[in-house]
Symmetry: C3
Subunit: 364 residues, 3 copies
């Protein structure tokens, strides 16, 4: 987490939750709250005459619909695609050419892509602000911001809460981003609940260890449930399991139902980025614990707050700083830097570790 920004929002793109300082997160949450209270006539002025491109190189209904709704409620309009088979990409156009073309038609570009690092590449390529709506298994920062907004709205604070993350902590992206974002906050106790072979990646646990928060790893939700203020559930993402990993064994790890919730605090809130499969029983929807549909609805004000900031941005040309190395390949196989015609960019840290500029992964 960078802490070197003023309180005002100064990002030119929204690519990674790690680009946000605590102050910037809090600014967006505060703006999201304000935007909900605007009159229709004020709201529809914010993006009047502006066009937001929604480039979905892989399908994602929820994210697409909520961005489209958010933009249009602000008086803007949307263009885009949600199925690459209906695009000119079949004529062999490169990813960066597609972006340079769209740049001429839109004021902000929202991008969803199956490859890690695609959003950073997009942000470096064009002079219009880019919002990452999910790049492979890497980042989905607006999801994390709406998760934080949902917690803030419910508890009027984030510091000091006891938050359980429960599911496939190894593969499921929303857990990673939320854990990183929470490391900006204070006195949080994180309960990491997963089967032992699906625990949180080491790199993230290292960041948590350096933060002002405690974390506890357990395999049985029942043991920690009575402690929790927030239980953040997630899907077991079959598509992210390697062939030799035991998806069948993992898929029924847990179902949160009314019986289980009897031991929870009265005020426990259950969250889930959706879609759910069997992690939360339908009967929970009617209880006071269920916060996941409100969480989904919070996509609107949070994405609107980001759009409102980015529409004002005049982007600076990306500066290729001296320590970006092109002679080394990123070792993450699903990084976009392996695509033809894209030059690798590796970034060396003070302690001589190498990270990919695009996907942010450690070069091994």
């Amino acid at each position: 987490m960078k802490n070197n920004f003023s309180k005002k929002f100064s990002l030119e793109d929204v690519v990674s939750i790690s680009d946000f300082s605590r102050a910037q997160i809090e600014h967006i949450l505060s703006q999201a709250q304000k935007i909900q209270k605007l009159s229709v006539s004020k709201k529809t002025q914010i993006l009047k005459g502006k066009v937001v491109a929604l480039l979905f190189f892989e399908p994602s209904t929820r994210t697409k619909l909520s961005f489209a709704s958010a933009v249009q409620q602000l008086g803007g309009s949307v263009i885009g695609f949600d199925d690459i088979s209906t695009t000119s990409l079949v004529k062999g156009e490169s990813f960066t050419d597609t972006l340079k073309m769209v740049e001429g038609y839109a004021d902000i570009v929202v991008i969803r892509h199956p490859l890690d690092g695609s959003a950073r590449l997009a942000a470096d390529t064009i002079s219009k602000p880019v919002i990452n709506a999910g790049d492979g298994r890497n980042q989905h920062p607006t999801q994390t911001l709406l998760d934080l907004f949902t917690i803030q709205e419910s508890f009027k604070k984030i510091d000091g809460l006891k938050i359980g993350l429960c599911g496939d902590l190894k593969h499921y992206r929303p857990f990673h981003s939320l854990a990183l974002a929470l490391s900006c906050f204070k006195n949080i106790t994180l309960y990491l609940v997963s089967p032992s072979h699906l625990d949180l990646p080491k790199t993230i646990r290292e960041i948590l260890a350096k933060s002002n928060n405690a974390f506890v790893e357990v395999t049985d939700l029942k043991k920690v449930l009575p402690e929790l203020d927030v239980l953040y559930m997630g899907r077991i993402p079959k598509e992210y399991f390697a062939e030799d990993e035991s998806f069948e064994q993992a898929k029924n790890f847990i179902t949160v139902d009314k019986v289980l919730l009897e031991s929870a605090k009265k005020n426990l809130k259950v969250m889930h980025p959706l879609p759910r499969v069997t992690e939360i029983a339908q009967e929970v929807d009617e209880t006071e614990h269920a916060l996941y549909f409100q969480q989904a609805a919070n996509a609107i004000p949070v994405r609107q707050a980001l759009l409102q900031e980015l529409i004002k941005v005049k982007k600076h040309k990306p500066v290729n700083s001296l320590n970006l190395i092109s002679e080394i390949q990123c070792t993450n196989k699903t990084c976009i830097s392996h695509q033809e015609s894209i030059e690798p960019k590796i970034h060396e840290t003070v302690n001589q570790k190498l990270y990919c500029h695009y996907c942010g992964k450690l070069v091994e």
Copy 2:
């Protein structure tokens, strides 16, 4: 037909034409007429800043395009999908979860779905008004309202007309709904023209028999054509034929052409919900009889009138009234109540008949 509503529109959802009283139908037709005369600046205020979700779980160009046009001409905007393969449903999300998610992004939800009863289930599930844009073979109430509007605009009345329904009266949904709707009106003579094995379902004929209208069943259009004010044609819907039914035999039942129309009244109007295949020869398009493209265009004011009413609605939580039975399954195989996680709801009438709450079909 319910007659227990005041003249004002008091529906919270538009699910079935059977929910409408005559007064409510007339109110919508009258509003549709008024809305056509509004200035652009007044029209674009009606849905300003509002979002209508168009959820098309099966494709339907005509309905989709006309709803999208209707909404946007009123200053609103649309979100949605028209191809379920590009939605998260591939990740296994349930129908009701999809709806609860969309509810957070839209002010009105228009739904098209291949299963009977899906629109009623949607209306029960969410707190935003639902418009049924076609649920399986069951209902498509806005089609029926625009049919009625088209007749009203042409003849300045509906009562007393002689109306022929000609085609596959057994399977083709628009015939069923129009016949039911006309049962609200008076002194109509309905001519039911079909091959004998494709006649109108018994349940509908029973309702007609109780109405203030006469009906006549014939197999030869020529015999009744000279009587008619309106000839309502329809496609022979191959997709609704069971394997053992004789589609090949039925498909060329009739082609209305100029020669045939020589015996018609000069003022006969030919209608068709479109698309047509061979039921109406192209040469008829140039005649004064052709009303089907005007009928298609009438989708705009009629759907706008409905949207204008529904945007004002504050929905009440659906009350599970006492006589809904969950222990009995609906016997309609294409009813949505057979989907996993949906509880059957069966409604018992005074005379001890059982009807499915969702698809409205008699439980056998």
Copy 3:
């Protein structure tokens, strides 16, 4: 090129660049320049409350996105489809019926279709203005207008320039239309650079020969590059090669790179309608020569200028003039007139040549 129009724009449809006089082209270019300078509040009045249908019977991202952006920036809204598999056409509806339906929902209809002549047929069929966004291999007039606008913006003139067209001059549509359009202008030298078996069709060379311009045919770009003001490159369109034609041999005809450009004028501008494959090396993007992404962006003001004119149009019924012959078939196999239910229309010129009214091709 017709020269019989007043300076003001008097077209009711935009079907073929050959329908434009020089004065009409200049009017559109001038309006495009003005529209860029309008304030947001003035721009969004131009199409307020209006609906433009984008009917894409074959996919084309670039054209679709730019039209959608152009319309919405003017305050209008869009409806349409970009994948015929999700339309009712699967129910067997004819092309003209689809158009007569859409006519009821939209104020302007933009059409992209794989068959030659489809746009002319559409324009003849409906009473709303039609814009051709590409009909088969035939015409794409708005592309040509934005090409001309791009040249005009760069050089403040079109007359007198030295312009190279380089690539597959036989098959690639943008070359044909641009060459035809330039024949309206004066003192241009056209350099036609292609492999000898992929040279410009004879019919177009005949028109050029009659114009006020010179043209030179060469097979080696290097020989003429130093002369050029504009180098207009194009893709080698694999999909337009017949099986017995040598695509493999042609596909690497040329790659314009920095080394090659060393011999060019400092002020040479390289254009390309995009998408490019290997015709222009990525390294050229950073040079002052690269104009192709600006060219893509110019789609917006040019299409807006056309929309602004067409929204004012009251179309006259197409008059079937006496010399249209229905007894002869068009000999172009990819002409839409071969579709079932469409009557051929052949037009006889003064010198007794026969041209298809729809696709404009010579009947052989």
